[in-house]
């Protein structure tokens, strides 16, 4: 088999913490028909989350998320929301993979997390202090690392003592595919045996307003989430986790300068290249998970159909779980695995400019939310 395998995973979505909560949520939608013309879910009430005003009273936030409940007090006091979501998701993914991390393996386990710009809130709040304090330097030094985009991945490494390659990739809506591509390379080149690979995005006033003002939440509500997948080579040793839940057979990313038709062509090209690398015939693709927002939105589905020559079932996770920006791709893969899909699926992403990408995923017999 080409590519990498998933030996464990977890997701934090507005459906709740962990795999079972997501499985329950998507099972209901599956029965109702994915991608139906019914209105997209607008989420739950979010007004109490922040003292600041929000552009919408509802959203896809984990409104009860409390990092201390999940991790305890120790080491978590400086975490911002995105860091908390990332660390909790990694903890659950590691547990579900049944991985043994000890001094003989910790240098062989790395992290690759996708983001848009880390925490827009942490960064902007820090910048704000320099403007509103009596003196511009009266900022909190303990919170300074939260302004740097690799904060979450660094805290994951510290929490679980993971000393392998530790990467943060900034991809916006492409972030998860960028992270999988990066992590796969690390494994294939032998720099690490296992990569915790995922993407994370937080619900904050800053993100909700940015999404609102740029039109990203015209059809779907703003959301947050994290999805983390324990990736290993197909021949990985038992300590990497005994299960083989899915294979990411190939990942390709590209760019269409100027966007528009150039990006259409680049995305179709990514799909063809990914299928070629995976050794998969276009006719075998049964499901495609796109970042599209409704049936009429074919920014991704259009080029996919063009590349495949047929119209597979389309799942638009953000209609159920909101606009999760950098976490979108990770949430999509989590939805796919929560559904227990066994066939060949395609995962695509497309940015507002020209960035595009595709992954070919095969569900394996060890999959299914009820396992492990």
């Amino acid at each position: 088999m080409t590519g990498v395998v998933v030996t464990g995973w977890s997701a934090l979505t507005s459906a709740g913490i962990g795999v079972d909560a997501l499985a329950a949520a998507v099972a209901g939608v599956e029965r109702a028909g994915v991608g139906a013309r019914a209105p997209a879910s607008q989420g739950v009430g979010v007004g109490h989350l922040y003292p600041e005003p929000l552009p919408s009273p509802t959203g896809h936030a984990l409104v009860d998320f409390n990092v201390r409940e999940q991790l305890g007090r120790k080491g978590t006091s400086t975490y911002d929301r995105v860091t908390g979501l990332a660390v909790v998701c990694c903890q659950d993914a590691l547990r579900r993979a049944g991985m043994t991390i000890d001094d003989s393996t910790r240098t062989r386990v790395g992290v690759a997390l996708g983001t848009s710009l880390g925490s827009f809130k942490s960064t902007s709040d820090y910048s704000r202090e320099t403007l509103v304090q009596d003196r511009p330097y009266l900022v909190n030094p303990m919170l300074f690392p939260n302004t740097v985009m690799n904060c979450a991945a660094g805290q994951v490494a510290i929490r679980f003592r993971l000393r392998g390659p530790n990467a943060t990739v900034a991809g916006g809506t492409l972030a998860f595919l960028n992270a999988v591509r990066y992590a796969s390379n690390i494994i294939e080149r032998g720099y690490a045996d296992v990569m915790l690979c995922g993407a994370v995005e937080e619900y904050t006033p800053h993100r909700a307003w940015a999404a609102h003002l740029t039109g990203a939440t015209r059809t779907v509500a703003a959301g947050e989430g994290a999805g983390v997948f324990v990736l290993a080579g197909p021949q990985a040793a038992d300590w990497a986790g005994a299960r083989r839940i899915a294979g990411v057979l190939a990942v390709t990313t590209g760019y269409g300068p100027g966007g528009g038709s150039q990006a259409d062509a680049a995305l179709a090209g990514c799909v063809r290249r990914a299928l070629g690398r995976a050794g998969v015939d276009p006719s075998e693709v049964g499901t495609v998970l796109t970042g599209d927002t409704d049936e009429d939105d074919r920014r991704e589905y259009g080029p996919v159909v063009q590349a495949l020559g047929h119209e597979p079932r389309r799942i638009m996770a953000k209609r159920l779980l909101g606009e999760c920006d950098a976490a979108s791709g990770a949430v999509s893969l989590a939805v796919l695995l929560a559904l227990g899909e066994r066939g060949i699926s395609l995962l695509t992403s497309r940015g507002p400019d020209g960035a595009v990408g595709a992954a070919v995923v095969k569900g394996l017999a060890d999959g299914g939310a009820d396992r492990g």
């Binding site: 240098t107 910048s127 900022v139 660094g154 916006g172 390379n185 020209g354």
Partner: protein, 401 residues
Amino acid sequence: MVRVAVTGLGPVSSIGVGVSAFADALHAGRSGISRITSFDPTGFPHQNAGEVQEFDPSRHLRRLDTARWARSSQFAASAARLAVQDAGLDIDAVPPGRAHAVIGTTSGESAAVEALTAQMVDGGFAAQDPALLTQVPANRLANAVSEELGLVGESLTIATACSASNYAVGYAYDLLVTGEADVVLAGGADSVCRWAHAGFFRLGALTESACSPFDRDRSGILTGEGGAVLLLETFEHASRRGARIYAELLGYGLNCDANHPVAPEPSSVAECMRLAHRNAGVKPEEVDYICAHGTGTPANDLVESKAILEVFGPQPPPVSSIKSMMGHTMGAACGFGAIASVMAIHRGFLPPTINWSNADPDLAGIDPVPNVARQADVRVVQNDGFAFGGNNAIVILGAVT
């Protein structure tokens, strides 16, 4: 075995724009530090940084619309364009999908974030300019390079803070040796901003006017900015087009301290050096020069020196810090270090650590090439990069044999 050539260099820096101005400044030990103009530093006790004061993107950019792309993206795209020109490469002649862009950064479009924050302070969240909001995502740094050069290959922004452009150069190496690419534009970009200036000051890590790495009385960094991009291609591609090859990219190593968000750990940094040597197929005694991370903070320079002495023994190769000249350019820092390393090999000199006055007894054995450049036959260089989050990345470059 595919070998990787460095054939083009694009520095956009406070000490010079373009490879010849930059290399001359390194050789002369010029300082690029000046009073901050990109934000109003009034009220800060320290008011200096390494800004690219004469940055005029219109002199470099042919395709990128500067009205739609913010400062760090403009640095990245300008640096990439300069690297292509320096390499004498007809980028449009590279087959589609065989050329990629990989850019590292610490703070992405920090200037845009700060402008939006000022709008929020004045008028609340709803007062933000939507057009400026679209410029904020950090992926746009690599995307700007793809736009400017018309590249349809991978367009990846790596956000591993101050070692990010070594990650970028390393990933580019992998793209080339695994046959994914013929050409990769790799490097980093960042812009000077208020919040980083304030944060480093409050960490006690910001010096006033002269950064003096490896000096007994060193007292911190100065923030800096710019874009630093290297054009990397396979030897086969370079020789087919008769390109000048500055140096060979031999390999890299990555690891993570997994210990503390900001404090570096000597044993982990030493291990990263060993990993880089092993991956690049070089022995410590073959390294002629270490282009240091050398931030000028008491902690970094002590930890880096300890690690060097642990790996190289009591007589390590000369170790200098170009941050003494240009400040800490964050996500671009390792890119500038890589360009300086290539120039050290190509022109045969060691860039100096300027502002150096007194030997630090705790750094005994470290030769910081004080104040004056030194002629040397440089065959192998180690370019160090460390970062918040314990993200260590070291790149090894060598003379063409």
